[in-house]
């Protein structure tokens, strides 16, 4: 059963991974971090990523059709941002208790494989809370 740190270290083993963090999107708090931070320091990166995640999760345009009926689960699975040099992958974690956390993986565009990373990060998010 992986804890927070093991989960983040696993994410860092993905090809092209530059940094990873577990972030609470209501408060913008980084609950765990590993590797480099895209905005220079992990606290700023977490606060900025949290703002993006919150917009996706709280606006009806991005949430699942059954989000209203199924309020116990995160309304969004991933948020993906790409730029000229890197990818950002935010994966919402379904913790089972009241929380609003996501895994944030920062990938180098040259070495990273976005499709693979998305699948793997989803599995890691599940294992983190299911054991």
């Amino acid at each position: 059963m992986p804890g927070i740190d093991e989960c983040l270290l696993q994410a860092m083993r993905l090809p092209g991974a530059r940094g990873a963090a577990l972030v609470d999107w209501t408060s913008g708090l980084a609950l765990g971090t590993v590797g480099d931070a895209p905005a220079g320091d992990h606290e700023t990166s977490a606060a900025e990523a949290a703002e993006l995640a919150r917009l996706a999760a709280e606006h009806g345009a991005f949430t699942a059709d059954d989000a209203d009926a199924d309020a116990e689960h995160p309304p969004v699975e991933d948020v993906i941002v790409s730029n000229r040099t890197s990818y950002h992958l935010l994966r919402f974690v379904d913790t089972g208790f009241d929380s609003s956390v996501f895994l944030h993986l920062w990938l180098s565009r040259a070495e990273g494989n976005l499709a693979l990373a998305r699948i793997r990060l989803g599995e890691m998010a599940e294992r983190l809370v299911l054991g």
């Binding site: 059963m1 804890g3 209501t26 999760a57 209203d68 913790t95 089972g96 208790f97 809370v129 299911l130």
Partner: protein, 289 residues
């Protein structure tokens, strides 16, 4: 007539680095000192307790924030019965959590996560400004194996950041502690299910932290939701607005059914500059949307 040519003495300038450091002592100078001396024991403050081991915070409890067991049982992560049985066999909450971890009823990630969010949640209230001095009891603190301690500086920084976050959403601190009432608004925005559930339970007697406990939600998250609802014009704190110079009066809106909050309210005669205040509040509200 001669003009004085000698330059007036320079005004003292605060050294920024020192000022920042000092400011960190401002949340709780006692806590900063305890962290520096790597103390082990329990800090008791007005709104709760912080458990320290070697100067790091390993646990926090506050009557205003739901603890680990409420968070874990409220949404079916664990059944209340399972928790009760574990709690009977263990000496405290963390002991119970570890029994459940060992028995495979709880994933390590879930426990770490829940413990961390509960710690930051409770610490937010413990570190709130208090009217009574804190006390520290030196002594052994059960050090949890799988759970991560939090550095005092990180906890204080996060608490300050959280206060700032609430202020930016809607600058009315009464929403954190006063009973909440619903208010009418011309065109209510579409709410998330989460906020709608919260709004449905606002009844004029419950406070934000009561609602958090009733719903099994983190208290700080509920404060954030309440401030966003207030910014949308859907809830307001019960009771008369406090006197100036900090008049957090509700923004102009249509007369609502809630007349108790405005008992023949004459606007305060002396205000600093109502326009500036109003504009700032309007800007904050717009930014929060």
């Amino acid at each position: 007539m001669t003009v004085a040519t000698a330059e007036p003495p320079r005004l003292p300038v605060r050294d920024r680095a020192v000022a920042v450091e000092r400011a960190w002592g401002g949340l709780s100078p006692m806590l900063t000192r305890l962290a520096a001396e790597k103390a082990t024991g329990v800090l008791v403050r007005e709104h709760g307790t912080l458990h320290l081991a070697d100067g790091q915070v390993v646990h926090a409890e506050s009557p205003l924030a739901p603890g680990l067991e409420i968070l874990l049982t409220a949404h079916g992560t664990l059944s209340t019965e399972t928790w009760r049985q574990a709690a009977q066999r263990a000496e405290d909450r963390r002991g119970a959590a570890h029994l459940l971890l060992a028995a495979g009823r709880l994933a390590e990630g879930t426990l770490q996560l829940c413990h961390l969010v509960a710690l930051y949640d409770a610490a937010y209230f413990v570190l709130a400004p208090s009217s009574t001095p804190g006390r520290f009891r030196y002594g052994a603190v059960h050090r949890p194996g799988a759970l991560r301690p939090v550095a005092v500086a990180a906890l204080e920084r996060e608490t300050v950041r959280r206060r700032d976050l609430l202020h930016r959403i809607w600058p009315d601190p009464r929403l954190d502690s006063a009973p909440l009432v619903r208010t009418d608004t011309v065109c209510p925005p579409r709410l998330t299910v989460r906020r709608q559930t919260l709004l449905d339970r606002v009844n004029g007697t419950r406070t934000a932290t009561d609602l958090a406990r009733a719903l099994g939600r983190q208290a700080f998250h509920t404060l954030v939701d309440v401030r966003r609802l207030a910014a949308a014009g859907l809830v307001a704190p019960q009771g008369p607005p406090p006197p100036p110079p900090d008049p957090p009066q509700p923004p102009p809106r249509l007369p609502s059914a809630d007349t108790r909050t405005t008992p023949a309210a004459d606007p305060p005669a002396v205000t600093t500059d109502p326009h500036i205040t109003l504009l700032k509040r309007l800007r904050d509200a717009l930014e929060a949307l």
